[in-house]
């Protein structure tokens, strides 16, 4: 009996030790969002601590798995005093979280879905951040003979014809949407085919599966370069127009979703497109992978971006 009391007591101690973390900063109740006023494009001074320091960033697994966020977020946090909570999910879920006001800013890569999302009034603005490209990966011996295909859809068609195993993200992510768009262009619906498998997971996990199954898969180049050394997958198709992978950042609109931290979301978007950050993005990965993982694009028009 005494033993049990002692145990409960010890656990209660741990509980009280945990308590301070349970009190996150509350936003000032009067902090009504003022989107127009907060549109100061210059970064806030480091000393000024924001009224609501918590910024929820809904983003894609590729930005996390490539390690880019680990580099950018600490810089933003120390420069502005904001605290970013990056939630790395598929683009579909990231957009859904933003549309519910459960995130303050989204960083995703599915232009068509983004435009719908903006048209629905979910965001204040849509800023081009960077791009890289998608690459079609496959076993080195290329059983479906994809190498040399004239276009992305032609490459996909060869896979379908050979019924070679293909692992899809299957998670409504930006990569998944891109893959579906290419299948559509190839005028082929692979769903339900035995050789077509949906992983339902992030890019990193999907690469692991494709690697084990000696299958083809579509990956963003950044994640592939970051993971290349552990994989026996080669690039079998790259450089096609349909394989461009463009990232936009969009602060969530406080007009439609009053509970969001509009100032914080805007500050993070401004940070991503600022010249200093763009330079960091343009160099990220060069030391480890021999080439940068992303091309910075802030300020360009979408049709100016080219792989």
């Amino acid at each position: 009996m005494r033993v049990l009391f002692w145990l409960v007591g010890a656990l209660a101690l741990v509980l009280t030790a945990c308590a301070p973390t349970a009190a996150p900063a509350r936003p000032a109740p009067s902090a009504a969002p003022a989107p127009a006023a907060s549109a100061a494009t210059a970064l806030p001074t480091p000393a000024a601590r924001p009224a609501n320091p918590e910024v929820i960033l809904a983003t894609t697994t590729s930005t996390q798995d490539s390690g880019l966020l680990d580099v950018l977020i600490p810089v933003f946090e120390s420069a502005t005093g904001y605290q970013v909570k990056p939630i790395a999910v598929g683009t579909g879920q990231a957009l859904a979280l933003g549309a519910r006001g459960e995130a303050d800013v989204v960083l995703v890569h599915a232009p068509e879905a983004e435009q719908e999302w903006m048209a629905a009034g979910n965001g204040t603005t849509r800023l081009l951040v960077m791009h890289n490209d998608f690459v079609l990966l496959g076993p080195a011996d290329d059983p479906a003979g994809v190498r040399g295909a004239p276009s992305a859809e032609a490459g996909f068609a060869r896979i379908a014809q050979a019924q070679a195993p293909f692992v899809s993200r299957g998670d409504d992510s930006g990569t998944h949407k891109q893959e579906q768009a290419i299948w559509q262009k190839a005028a082929f619906d692979p769903r339900g085919q035995a050789w077509y498998q949906e992983a339902g997971q992030g890019m990193g996990a999907t690469l692991n599966i494709a690697n084990e199954k000696r299958a083809y898969t579509l990956s963003d180049r950044g994640t592939y370069l970051a993971r290349q050394s552990g994989l026996q997958l080669d690039i079998v198709l790259e450089g096609a127009k349909a394989l461009l992978n463009v990232y936009h950042v969009m602060p969530v609109s406080p007009t439609k979703l009053p509970k969001v931290n509009a100032a914080g979301g805007q500050a993070f978007a401004d940070f991503l497109v600022s010249p200093a950050t763009q330079e960091v993005i343009g160099q990220y990965g060069a030391d480890r992978f021999g080439q940068p993982l992303f091309v910075p694009d802030a300020g360009k028009r979408e049709d100016e971006v080219s792989g």
Binding site: V8, T21, D65, M203, N208
Partner: protein, 232 residues
């Protein structure tokens, strides 16, 4: 196999070097799961004792619910709590989503039915005549409960171990309500998932080994307490 060996080497190195990030993740795992287990004890032991001893209409339905809760899928608990804690959800004003507290809440929901259910079983396997005898000797209600808990302490400690083991090792709820945010809500299981998807299999395995060592250490302590004095 070389990945396993390199994981063992890396795990030893991780523990020995005292890498601050790994220490933080480990400490948070321990803190969150011990807190959740502690809370589930505070609720589960009294509730289980009551369910074991009391007789009232609907008791079996309630017991059935508790036993179902013992098999609660972490990802379902995580999803429901996430929706409740959303800004637009009923508890959004608490601002708890993506905090360690949210993980504690989710793990409590997972551990409480386990502790409750196993407490019921522990209490019911006591000889029913023991209760009559204690009462006949003039014990008060509280003395009776204290004596019964004392009698059932071995299976009760097993209940603690089961509850703790379930929550320290779950990943679905922690990932969903915590968000796996570095420095804030990253625990050993979610860090393992992340390193796996990054392709750092040896680091992922090393974190897994660290988790196993941690579970062993906690259970060894509990086992030591359990086996120290054998019942008559």
């Amino acid at each position: 196999m070389d990945v396993v060996w390199s994981a063992v080497v890396q795990a030893v190195r991780l523990i020995a070097s005292g890498d601050p990030e790994v220490l933080r993740v480990t400490a948070l795992s321990l803190q969150v799961s011990l807190t959740a287990t502690g809370l589930s004890l505070l609720v589960g032991v009294p509730l289980g004792t009551w369910l074991a001893l009391a007789r009232f209409p609907g008791r079996r339905l309630l017991l059935g619910l508790v036993n179902t809760g013992m098999g609660m899928p972490p990802v379902v608990a995580g999803l429901v709590i996430t929706v409740l804690l959303w800004r637009s959800g009923p508890l959004g004003e608490l601002r708890l989503l993506y905090t360690p507290t949210a993980i504690v809440v989710a793990q409590f929901v997972l551990a409480a039915p386990i502790v409750t259910g196993l407490t019921v079983a522990a209490m019911q396997q006591l000889n029913p005549r023991l209760r009559l005898q204690i009462l006949a000797l003039g014990a008060t209600r509280w003395q009776l409960l204290a004596l019964l808990v004392r009698e059932a302490r071995l299976p009760l400690l097993a209940a603690i171990m089961a509850g703790f083991g379930a929550v320290i090792s779950e990943v679905g709820a922690s990932m969903m309500v915590g968000g796996n945010i570095p420095g804030q809500t990253r625990v050993l299981t979610t860090a393992t998932v992340l390193e796996t998807s990054k392709g750092n299999f040896d680091l992922a395995l090393a974190l897994g080994l660290l988790l196993l060592v941690l579970i062993y250490a906690v259970n060894l302590t509990l086992t030591w307490v359990q086996q120290r004095e054998r019942p008559l």
